[in-house]
């Protein structure tokens, strides 16, 4: 789960990490009031879950209160299109107004999950304010890293090495060590799998300040962090994905024309690949999991009927513990309940498949049976006019 910059900065403050003072504003009026509580100059920053806001016009530096008002007016309600949002962009609903910082240097600092090592790791670079993946690819010697132990703790010497590597002076290294210890503590206590400051700035007075803040939490751990779970912003989610979440369906909206419903994430991804190979495009990823009952299938059908791009639906079930006859009955009932009108291709294999096929055949449901994955993908491509 991602959170907004203003929420992340609130957490940073709690963990003793220096951040510029600021306030959240939902209207230009609130932005003006926020500016009144802070010293000039100000920075007005769009609060959306996407990097690259500055380049897209979502961050404005203001010298007067009038400029703050104008900036808030321009940003709130705008559709922000950045490298990370894709063409669809994101509508901005709120801005963060903070005191401007005079910047002497920009660095990069993060705590990340190192999958290969199976540990949390820390990463620092003297090249802040840039895309860190570009830095890693072009100047790998500008990246300093250290691995944490299995208790998710960092020794000061590990942190010192990172900051001396970035060329900070002794006093700044001391501040950096405290800062990184705070970030690690945050990651450990709140189950964050990414905590990133980019840029981490050295201000004109020579002190370290977190100018930006990004935190990504482990979804699996949200249950034990209700306060963190409450930071979730439903406005950030795709409307169809939000509906799916409420219905308990594992759904990702992709925007293509073939609705898919599959049991198991791996098979679902492979089905999406097969649809592409056959010439069409998947509208969604939908993993019906081990409990594909009538309600879940109905919820899936409703999502597909609501998606204006969907021209046909491919159901691919490999019955294991989940029996094909149960799925078949669920599909038949759900199709009736939701008034399913889209063309359906159904491929079914596994436990009780004969019974499942009989139920489908005798139900009067209008569908195209497929004997294999390849045939299913070909049929749906024909139906959507892409074969």
């Amino acid at each position: 789960m991602n959170i907004h910059e203003y929420q992340a900065k609130g957490l940073f403050a709690k963990y003793g990490i220096p951040v510029p003072q600021g306030y959240l504003a939902l209207t230009p009026q609130e932005a003006v009031e926020a500016a009144g509580k802070l010293e000039a100059p100000w920075v007005v920053k769009a609060q959306v879950h996407a990097g690259g806001r500055g380049k897209a016009g979502g961050v404005k530096v203001c010298k007067t209160v009038e400029e703050v008002e104008a900036a808030a007016k321009a940003i709130i309600g705008m559709k922000l299109v950045t490298k990370q949002t894709g063409e669809a962009g994101k509508i901005v609903h709120k801005v963060w107004v903070e005191s401007g910082t005079s910047i002497a240097r920009e660095l990069y600092l993060a705590v990340v999950l190192d999958r290969t090592a199976g540990r949390l790791a820390c990463m620092a670079s003297p090249d802040g304010g840039m895309d860190i993946e570009t830095v890693a690819a072009e100047t790998p010697d500008h990246i300093f890293t250290c691995k944490l132990d299995a208790a998710h703790e960092i020794w000061p010497f590990q942190a010192r090495k990172l900051f001396f590597g970035c060329g900070l002076d002794a006093k700044q290294v001391g501040e950096g060590v405290k800062m990184l210890q705070g970030l690690v503590k945050l990651a450990k206590e709140e189950d964050a799998v990414l905590v990133e400051i980019n840029p981490l700035c050295v201000n004109a007075e020579g002190h370290l300040v977190a100018l930006d803040a990004k935190v990504n939490f482990d979804d699996a751990a949200l249950k034990r962090h209700p306060a963190i779970a409450a930071l979730d912003d439903p406005e950030e989610a795709d409307p169809l994905e939000l509906k799916a979440k409420e219905a308990g369906v594992n759904y990702v909206h992709l925007g293509g024309e073939v609705g898919t419903m599959v049991n198991g994430a791996g098979l679902a991804m492979a089905t999406m690949d097969a649809i592409k190979q056959a010439g069409s495009t998947p509208a969604n990823f939908l993993d019906a999991g081990g409990g594909a009952n009538e309600d879940m299938v109905a919820a899936g059908f409703s999502l597909m009927l609501e998606d204006p791009n969907v021209k046909g639906v491919l159901i691919n079930i490999f019955g294991g513990i989940l029996r094909c006859d149960i799925v078949a009955q669920g599909v038949v009932n759900a199709a009736k309940r939701t008034g399913m009108t889209l063309p359906l291709v159904i491929r079914m294999e596994g436990t009780n498949v004969e019974e499942g096929r009989r139920i489908l055949k005798e139900s009067g449901l209008n569908y195209h049976p497929a004997a294999s994955m390849s045939e299913a993908a070909r049929k749906i491509a024909e139906i959507t006019g892409r074969a």
Binding site: Q84, R115, D218, N250, A268, A270, E375
Partner: protein
């Protein structure tokens, strides 16, 4: 022969008194797996499916000589349960539970490494040596004994691939679902090593996914060791968009790492036969091995 589990394996079911644990324990026993004990703290002394339940793994191991444990405990307590089994001295723990926090898994891996316990999972269907021992949630009837070793990050893809192999008359030595999480136990390279030393395994199939670099590392291992058996590889999620999480916690591409194309390329460079179309999985393997095994 086989790897990791066989007809002698004695299994503890942690969470035997729960709905999931009981259901799958029953399926496992019907398949022929030697389920010798259940563990649910506070329910020691009970009997479920004719199997004694203990308060701790330590008691269960002492009383039954169990050497393997399978965990059906809910996510927030699963890491603790896994470590309990490791501390009790079992050799192998199969962690079926999904949605275990990743920081917990980091601690589990360290704990297991110190004790020398092997881990399969989490978030996996388990492991099966056909007609001998099934530890997990897979449908037993699709598996047949034979020469293919199978390693997979995904449950239903394991079933799909196995089904096609069985249809082609290609049985399996052992099939292992290694799980779809970001910090897993035994992984592709570990399993390849085990299959290399198993005389019954004549060829190995790897079913990977986008995300992580386990497939690339396995490819490197195959290449560097001039792996003595034919290896086949399939990757799911080639068309998945960047930055979207596809069900499995691991199946997410961030930046340029974990891309499907890179995995395919690594496979090809290592001489691994790449299966491009899932619908032709069994057919491709059967044709390539014709007259060779």
């Amino acid at each position: 022969m086989s790897i990791l589990v066989n007809s002698e394996t004695k299994v503890i079911v942690q969470g035997l008194t729960g709905r999931e644990g009981r259901f799958h324990a029953e399926q496992m026993m019907k398949y022929g797996t030697k389920v010798v004990a259940g563990v649910t703290p506070g329910k020691g002394g009970q009997e479920v499916l004719g199997v004694p339940v203990f308060n701790s793994c330590e008691e269960a191991v002492k009383a039954t000589g169990a050497d393997t444990s399978v965990v059906f405990v809910p996510a927030m307590g699963a890491a603790d349960s896994a470590c309990e089994a490791s501390a009790a001295g079992v050799k192998l723990v199969v962690l079926i539970t999904e949605h275990i926090p990743v920081l917990d898994m980091i601690r589990v891996k360290e704990f297991f490494a110190k004790n020398g316990t092997q881990l399969i999972g989490p978030n996996c269907p388990g492991i099966i040596t056909p007609k001998q021992c099934k530890i997990g949630i897979m449908p037993g009837y699709i598996f047949e004994p034979g020469p293919i070793g199978l390693i997979s990050r995904s449950g239903t893809l394991t079933y799909e691939a196995t089904w096609q192999l069985t249809q082609q008359g290609l049985g399996q030595s052992t099939c292992c679902g290694i799980g779809g999480d970001q910090v897993p136990g035994l992984y592709f390279t570990d399993m390849l090593k085990l299959f290399r030393d198993d005389p019954e395994t004549k060829a190995v199939c790897m079913i990977g996914e986008i995300g992580g670099n386990g497939e690339e590392m396995a490819a490197q291992y195959v290449k560097e060791t001039n792996y003595p058996k034919p290896v086949f590889g399939f990757i799911a999620g080639l068309t998945a968009p960047k930055g979207k999480r596809m069900g499995h916690a691991g199946a997410i591409i961030t930046g340029n790492s974990g891309r499907g194309e890179d995995k395919i390329k690594a496979f090809q460079e290592a001489g691994i036969t790449v299966i491009h179309e899932l619908g032709k999985f069994g057919e491709t393997v059967a044709q390539a091995l014709k007259g060779k095994i």
